[in-house]
């Protein structure tokens, strides 16, 4: 412990134990515990307690209080537990009789204070922290404390109940792993005493007629199998298997969800292999017996396993696909399409009845769709899904939802009435549709699919959130369509679809709802990103009104939309002005106009988003080499820097620094210096000539004023970025050996101003107005001064200073202790206040 903290700690302890104080706020106590957690982990010896006797005194003082504050008591329990986590300190606290008074029968657990959840929570947390060694285990088990933990599993506080369950798992693991003398066998299992108590409790609870007891045990086992994968857990399985099996045969037990969770965790545990037939038989019958809603999570979990018996996988697949199969059958004429499943293996009655009920239909479909999306998001699917039938089924769902499909079958008719305008199902189905675009083999349906997607994009009934998802799905399928038309040369179909998409987009860009305009612009940007190399796409886009409308949205009243318009316009430029063969366009679309417009936004827009979007687009253009020759680029960068260096939004200024960084790298690269080893170097140019030239360019572009000013910015990320750039530049201009010693700098006029700069940088954010264009003789455009500054300023030191968070001092333990001491006696009003 730092000595400053040791000095403060006694006063802190005294303040906390003083019942007259109204009490520190909870965050202080939490942070104090965070600090002790680190301290106790670093040093397991007893010296922490010996060197700071105030800690044990504090615990004793709190115990002596007739009515301790609940938060302080809870804190004390947790602190004592942390301290007792090492065996040495445990013994020390035992000798002082503190642990037994805190956690034993005479402690808070038999007083009225126990009524308060924070005290119970502190008790469980304290015991959990302490539970790192056998003496602690015996302390609790022998003192009857384990019964308290059993009871706390059913605590009215969710937090306490969950913590108690976790604690039992931890104790069971600790007991088995530290106290077992010989390997455990399934035949004659000799569990250590503490483990035996817990396992007996689990078994008793599983056989209990009380549903809550059964649930607690299932939860405990779920936590155990979820966190512990050692072989002994399999031995445990043999002791509980018959109880779990009985849950499936006895209809009275209502713990299907919890049992499904447990089976899922077990299925994922590496201790169960494909050969464990008894376990997999249980999983299979659970999949069969549970309702589709209960079995769904288990089914999808099983399907994500790479190793699992085939029949279990088939059963899981049946559970997952059955709702989709029913939809397909309900939507189509008899014998029109084969379903997803063979009717001989699955009985659709339950699913059909769930789908035809108003209260369960949407829920079941949303769950199934979410599970399908989960599966489809895996790169390597352990199972083959029938993609075409799935797509057909999805299309049917989407048609049911927008009322464009009302089949004759009674089930289809019922479902269509339930699903119409159901946003939840629409969103989930569109998510799966987007995920399905990554899978091959659905080509034949693509035209019909776009009919449906376009209907969604066009319909005024489509809600903005659904529309956003429809855009996402459409963009993904358009990419597929392009790939498809490249391979089969069916350009006409593609052009037709693209024209329809842009027609819809035109309307949507004019929507009165900002969410829709914004999603439309985002959609356009995505399309350009992925499809800008396709001729058909470019032609369709440029012959539509979309580019003009997008430019108009640069003046949208909503700043989010303006920012998205900036990004879209920036991307559009790649297929207009920056394209190798720019298309012939009207006067209003010229490059200078657009750049001027964006620069105007950068300098005048009242909000940060559009300005940030502009600077990021400029950087993107620069990266892609769109800003012209070096000279043009220099002017461009210089102009942009002048606009952004005084921006009120630090993220815009940070964007400016990024632009500077790209520019520096490119300039250095273009002039053929070693930073870029593959750049062609004209043989006539010498290395120092390059250096001179690039330094002059940087000075002319007024980079250095911006960079040095940023070092003193009150917003830290700017200082860090500027420092990174300057370190990069220095390594470029100075090989390490040639760095000048800092003491000699004041000899020349340039040296004098660099010395001033050094002093100013030391003041950091407290520096007085930082002169960018000459101050104290400092000329940031003078190559000689800049060269000297780069060579003499200790950027590494600055860098490590800037790299710390701006409130690291206030967040330090010493500062925390000071704050606790300082709050003693402050008025209550300050503490009680809030927004």
């Amino acid at each position: 412990m730092p000595s400053e903290c040791s000095l403060l700690l006694p006063r802190v302890c005294a303040a906390l134990a003083d019942p007259r104080q109204s009490g520190s706020d909870d965050t202080c106590l939490e942070k104090l515990l965070d600090w002790f957690r680190v301290l106790t982990r670093l040093d397991p010896t007893v010296s922490l307690l010996q060197d700071n006797p105030c800690l044990t005194d504090f615990i004793a003082a709190v115990l002596a209080l007739p009515e301790p504050s609940l938060s302080i008591l809870s804190f004390t329990l947790r602190l004592a537990g942390m301290l007792a986590a090492s065996e040495h300190r445990f013994q020390h606290l035992q000798q002082e009789q503190l642990l037994v008074r805190l956690f034993g029968r005479e402690g808070p657990l038999n007083s009225a204070l126990w009524e308060d959840a924070s005290v119970r929570s502190g008790w469980v947390a304290g015991v959990h922290s302490m539970m790192q060694h056998q003496p602690a285990l015996h302390f609790l088990c022998n003192g009857g404390g384990i019964d308290v933990v059993f009871a706390l599993q059913g605590d009215p506080s969710l937090f306490v109940a969950s913590a108690a369950s976790q604690l039992l798992v931890h104790m069971l693991t600790l007991s088995v792993e530290s106290e077992t003398t010989k390997p455990l066998s399934t035949v004659d299992c000799d569990w250590p005493a503490c483990a035996q108590m817990i396992i007996k409790h689990i078994e008793d609870s599983l056989q209990s007629s009380s549903a809550s007891h059964v649930e607690h045990s299932l939860k405990l086992l779920t936590n155990l199998f979820g966190s512990c994968c050692t072989p002994w857990t399999k031995v445990l399985w043999f002791s509980i298997a018959k109880h779990l099996e009985s849950f499936l045969t006895e209809e009275t037990v209502q713990a299907q969800h919890k049992l499904a969770n447990l089976l899922l965790k077990m299925a994922w545990s590496p201790v169960f292999s494909e050969a464990d037939s008894r376990f997999w038989a249980l999983v299979t019958s659970a999949l069969e017996c549970f309702t589709p809603v209960q079995a769904g999570p288990l089914a999808v979990g099983v399907l994500r396993l790479y190793k699992c018996p085939q029949d279990v996988r088939m059963q899981a697949l049946t559970v997952l696909l059955q709702p989709m199969d029913c939809i397909l059958r309900a939507a189509s004429q008899p014998l029109e399409y084969a379903g997803l499943l063979d009717e001989s293996v699955s009985d659709p009655t339950t699913v059909e009845s769930l789908l035809s009920s108003k209260s369960s239909c949407a829920g079941l479909l949303c769950q199934t769709l979410a599970h399908l999306e989960q599966l489809l998001s895996l790169i390597h699917l352990p199972v083959d899904l029938p993609y075409v039938s799935l797509l057909r089924s999805l299309m049917a769902i989407l048609q049911f939802c927008n009322g464009s499909l009302s089949p004759a079958s009674p089930l289809g008719n019922t479902i269509s009435r339930i699903l119409i305008n159901c946003f939840r199902v629409q969103k989930s189905a569109l998510d799966v549709l987007a995920a399905l675009s990554e899978r091959k083999g659905c080509d034949a349906l693509i035209e019909n699919l776009f009919d449906i997607l376009l209907a969604y994009l066009e319909s005024p009934n489509t809600s903005p959130t659904v529309l956003k998802k429809a855009f996402q799905a459409t963009s993904k399928w358009l990419v597929c369509l392009q790939e498809l038309s490249c391979s089969n040369s069916q350009w006409q179909q593609t052009v037709k679809i693209l024209e329809a998409v842009f027609l819809v987009l035109q309307k949507r860009l004019c929507s009165p709802c900002w969410e829709v305009r914004d999603s439309s612009l985002e959609f356009l940007t995505v399309l350009i990103k992925y499809l800008r190399d396709q001729d058909e796409f470019r032609q369709c886009l440029l012959s539509s009104e979309v580019p003009r409308l997008t430019e108009d949205l640069l003046e949208d009243p909503e700043s989010y939309v303006r920012a998205s318009a900036v990004t879209a316009v920036g991307h559009l430029a790649f297929i207009t002005y920056f394209s190798p063969e720019p298309p012939v366009m009207g006067n209003q679309y010229n490059k200078e106009n657009t750049i001027a417009k964006l620069q105007e936004i950068l300098s005048t827009d009242s909000e940060g988003f559009p300005r940030r979007a502009v600077i990021s687009i400029f950087t993107k253009w620069l990266r892609q080499g769109c800003t012209g020759q070096l000279e043009d680029t220099e002017q461009f960068v210089s102009r942009v820097i002048q606009i952004v260096e005084n921006d009120l939004d630090w993220e815009v200024r940070l964007g400016g620094l990024e632009l500077v960084q790209v520019f520096c790298n490119q300039t250095v690269c273009q002039l053929g210096l070693p930073k870029c080893p593959y750049a062609p170097v004209p043989s006539a140019v010498t290395s120092s000539g390059h250096q001179n030239q690039s330094l002059q360019i940087f000075c002319r572009a007024k980079l250095f004023g911006f960079l040095f000013h940023s070092l003193c910015d009150c917003d830290k990320p700017l200082g860090q970025r500027a420092c990174d750039i300057l370190i990069g530049l220095r390594s470029h201009f100075y090989p390490t050996s040639t760095l000048k010693a800092s003491q000699a700098v004041e000899e020349s006029p340039a040296g004098h101003s660099v010395a001033w700069l050094q002093r100013t940088l030391r003041q950091g954010a407290l520096a007085q107005n930082f002169p960018i264009d000459g101050g104290d003789g400092m000329d940031f455009q003078d190559p000689e001064s800049m060269m000297l500054a780069l060579g003499t300023i200790d950027f590494e030191d600055l860098h490590s200073e800037l790299n710390r968070c701006s409130d690291h001092v206030e967040k330090s333990p010493q500062s925390l202790l000071q704050d606790i001491i300082a709050t003693v006696g402050t008025t209550e009003e300050n503490e009680a206040d809030c927004y």
Partner: protein, 600 residues
Amino acid sequence: MPEIKVTPLGAGQDVGRSCILVSIAGKNVMLDCGMHMGYNDDRRFPDFSYITQNGRLTDFLDCVIISHFHLDHCGALPYFSEMVGYDGPIYMTHPTKAICPILLEDYRKITVDKKGETNFFTSQMIKDCMKKVVAVHLHQTVQVDEELEIKAYYAGHVLGAAMFQIKVGCESVVYTGDYNMTPDRHLGAAWVDKCRPDLLITESTYATTIRDSKRCRERDFLKKVHETVERGGKVLIPVFALGRAQELCILLETFWERMNLKAPIYFSTGLTEKANHYYKLFITWTNQKIRKTFVQRNMFEFKHIKAFDRAFADNPGPMVVFATPGMLHAGQSLQIFRKWAGNEKNMVIMPGYCVQGTVGHKILSGQRKLEMEGRQILEVKMQVEYMSFSAHADAKGIMQLIRQAEPRNVLLVHGEAKKMEFLKQKIEQEFHVSCYMPANGETTTIFTNPSIPVDISLGLLKRETAIGLLPDAKKPKLMHGTLIMKDNSFRLVSPEQALKELGLAEHQLRFTCRVHIQDPRKEHETVLRVYNHLKGVLKDYSVQHLPDGSITVESILIQATAHSEDQGTKVLLVSWTYQDEELGSYLTALLKKGLPPSTS
């Protein structure tokens, strides 16, 4: 029995961050989704893993409702919707939807600015989250789905703050969020219908306080600013971009105008324009005075308040600067503070509370020598003032709201346990309703007794009135019929009509009972004895001896057979319909007593 369950994940016996789960008639609603600014790790957000152990959040929660734009009520929303994965509907009022992203963005910038922060949402996430929000109008009933509806009421407190009524069928809950029962300079007082909810969930920040008038605090504030400026000092007011800043701007603007002061007032965030734009846009949400004067002069168009440039901080002479962030923990406000702290002529006024770990917290707790970066010590010589302008209902206001709404139960949140305990007793005494105050993670269950409206068919009603008295609205009346539950509606119809509507065939249910009688005579003689006995006892009933040897009493049928093993025992099989249940039971009891001795 129907029940409403409430589990606070935040605001249960604390004022950290509000997040309350309500389960009503099978619907699950999250009320507020706040952030705790006292932490810089995951503890700043509620632990959402407790919402559901099974399945996805989106499937479990039917909607999220945000009461107002303060971060302790909405700060975790982008995290919840974009990082935890909730994809369902979110409701808030129009002003809250407009202002909420400004505050979230402001706080995100401060958080990112500080460095060392993990797991925080981005600008894009804030935007994506706001796109999912459905904005509601005051008093507009919004149908979340076919059963769940919500309605917003004016809450005062801050622009756009609302209380929400959540209703499923005839069960309802009102959640107040933060509210203020007394109008202030720019907002009106909270108001709610006499909607008699099953449960009122109310904040209780000032549960034991009767606050002095806000006017006094405002006067005090102006006096202090004025004195400092007069003696040539600078005043720093650290604020968050929106909310209190605008309130204080109005205050200073009016004062400057009245006193004809010339010292400049600056606002540093660059967000003033947008903030003021929203205050103008949502003028209907402000109080009557502002609305009235709006025609002549818009209160939010400031003549004296100008945008701040970083270079101004070093200018000589007096000035007043509003700078973000509000707790002096990073950025501009901290920079200005460090520059001005050494001069005793200057003043910093903290208009809101500060969490531990900030410079604001330090100076408010009286620390005057602050360690700064690089082991520098900053001596704070400037005056430090704390002025709470938070607009919450005090104890009187809370009682007033309960009187207004007339709830059947009250549940306290957003307050300190001790103060809640006091208020709880007061509420229970005065209103004779149960009052609860669950801690975070604790579930309170309230049993409701909903009256379920049922339509009665005209035929049944006519039949009932034909046999009895005319229905009287004040007297409960027992009615017999068949209840049909179909398409979310209940109808009581006559059994015949129910059979007809549902296309079902009628089945007769008969109860049977065997009674053993010792009688050595022939069967037909035993039957005759029984017949005579019954005829003698049941004089008012129609007792018949049928040709097939059986006896009927009304619908009850009695047949006699000899016992297969003992001819001296006769078995009487008695059967009756449901309608004659009483008579059937009486008859069997009678027969079990045996027959009277034979007279023949």
